[in-house]
């Protein structure tokens, strides 16, 4: 305020209203995104909420050494990897196939009707999805087990038996998000010039050849980039969902990094140790995402970040 004349020429002073607008958001990111990053320091302490971050004892790499030396490390690693592999093998191709089928529909009204049906599950909560699975698959009056019993077979513990855990989790993802996943492919397909199909048809190309030579090349780059992104988020299991599906009977196959941090950290109070576990997962995740993005750029895609 001392020299208003020179201030008025300063672009930052001229834009002061814009900086005021930025302020709340900036404070938000600093407080709720960067302050927790600073809090990661507790992974190198014996953190006690009583003493706080400034006065807790420093222990160096102790928690990491403990984690890498434990069987739990391999248990979490195996469970997370297997869920991710199930996801890529059984879920990833389905939206592509469904989008191709939808794309072959000629009647626009019918196509929109089917789209309306298949998008619905995406918008309900994981609690509702898992809840519906519980209702359908429980041994106590669930319709699936009632049918199995009516056929004279033994009831199956779909929700408690460890050998069914991954199938159930993957089926839920398939049911909830296959329809939703088609949107991005359908958008890519909408850009295909209809004249190409016409030309192919006049040249006598069969439907399969049209799909192979026109439709698939049109979405190839979308498929590649989505696949690479999926690899980047390989370790990101769906915490909302897995937390609902894990119980005391299937914990040995269901426990993943996030649920382990939740139960052992927040519920049992091993704050520093679980922060170390979480940090390990986040750093591997960071490396994977950055690597995947590099890979995407190598494939001539724009990359995401």
């Amino acid at each position: 305020m001392k020299a208003p004349h020179s201030l008025a020429k300063n672009p930052m002073y001229k834009d002061r209203a814009l900086y005021m607008m930025l302020l709340p958001g900036l404070i938000y990111f600093l407080c709720f995104k960067y302050l927790p990053m600073w809090g990661i320091l507790m992974a190198f302490q014996n953190y006690s909420p009583h003493l706080g971050l400034l006065h807790s004892d420093w222990v160096g790499w102790k928690h990491f050494a403990r984690f890498f030396g434990e069987d739990t490390f391999w248990l979490l690693f195996r469970n997370t990897m297997l869920l991710a592999i199930y996801n890529i093998v059984f879920f990833f191709p389905l939206p592509i196939i469904l989008a191709l089928l939808l794309n072959e529909l000629r009647a626009e009204g019918y196509k929109r009707f089917i789209q309306t049906l298949v998008y619905i599950p995406h918008f309900v909560s994981w609690v509702v999805v898992v809840g519906i699975f519980y209702i359908l698959f429980t041994t106590e009056g669930g319709i699936v087990n009632n049918l199995i019993a009516a056929l004279g077979l033994d009831k199956i513990q779909f929700l408690l038996a460890p050998e069914w855990f991954r199938t159930m989790v993957t089926s839920q993802v398939i049911w909830k998000d296959t329809g939703w996943g088609t949107i991005i492919f359908l958008a890519a397909l909408a850009g295909v010039d209809p004249g190409m199909y016409e030309a192919a048809r006049i040249d006598g190309a069969s439907r399969w050849r049209q799909i192979w030579h026109i439709t698939l090349p049109a979405i190839r780059s979308t498929i590649v980039i989505l696949f690479i992104l999926r690899l980047g988020h390989f370790l990101d299991t769906n915490f909302d969902q897995v937390l609902l599906m894990v119980n005391s009977l299937n914990r040995e196959v269901g426990e993943v990094y996030d649920t382990y941090v939740y139960t052992n950290g927040l519920l049992m109070g091993q704050f520093s140790y679980t922060t170390a576990v979480n940090l390990f997962k986040n750093i591997v995740g960071l490396i994977l995402v950055v690597g995947a993005n590099r890979l995407a750029k190598k494939f001539g895609e724009e990359g995401v970040y």
Binding site: D15, Y19, M21, L22, G25, L26, Y28, F29, C31, F32, K33, L35, P36, M37, W38, G39, I40, M42, P49, L102, E104, L105, R106, A107, L117, V118, I120, F123, V124, S125, V127, G131, Y134, I135, L136, G141, N146, L159, W175, I184, A187, I202, G204, F239, D240, L243, L244, S248, V261, Y262, G265, L266, T274, T275, N278, I283, G285, L286, V289, Y305
Partner: protein, 300 residues
Amino acid sequence: MSYPSRNLNAAPNQRLNLNRKRGRGQLFEIINATVLLLIGLICVSPFVYVIVSSFSLSDSILPKGFSLDAYRYIFSTNKLVRGLLNSVYITVVGTLINLLLTSLMAYPLARKTLKGRSWILLLVLFTMLFHGGMIPTYFVVKWFGMINTYWSLMIPSAISAFNLIVLKNFFQNMPEGLEESAKIDGCGDWRVLFSVVLPLSMPALATFGLFYAVAHWNSYVSAVLYLNDAGKWPVQVLLRNMVILANSSIGDSSDFVDVVIPPQPVKMAVIFVSTIPILCVYPFLQKHFAKGVMLGSVKG
């Protein structure tokens, strides 16, 4: 369901060929339409089954008779109503906070001439790649005194970095002349934002609002993390305690209503009641989400 008539313009010998193929093509289309109908039914039939059975009498394989017992039962205490009201409050106030803070931050970032803009964008982008984790975030929320308050469900998720970037790109693509003419008319930046830019962005804001609102309504993890007081729980937490924990017999549903394991129609009724708001906004969601995906594809 048949080939478009323009094929008939093909040369005569090819038309013969096409005629033979048309039979196969039609068969394919019928099979395709049927398969897609089946997939559509798989997506909605669980909802239909749950809704119909919630009005049913017994736990037989298929629903039988008609009864409102389940609904009388879940509304016999005011716990569910309380949960629904909590969810409504969190969704409405939370979404307003989301929209206000996201657009306030996105608008200046859309100005390419703003000094320090790229640093702030980098700061935002990095949070999409790396985060502090559950435990440090919990202590930050606690440090701000938000544990056991509704704020804990609204403030820590006030801005989604992804939505912020998409909205910034949207603002960037608005014609620059609009702002300039408003400024020539003597509007400051605040008035340009609230009287010109935001009113013109209503469709985009509606899209973001719906996405934020659905996320608030559906979320349960932050409530499980931050709220101990059962009176403040949103309906999703009640649903989880009742349908999932009670069912696997490791939880205790007595804080909901005083029965040990709620019968199936009761669980179904709670699922239906808690999903009604989503079903109500679904037509709007469907209208807007394609637009939302398109917004996301604009880069800048």
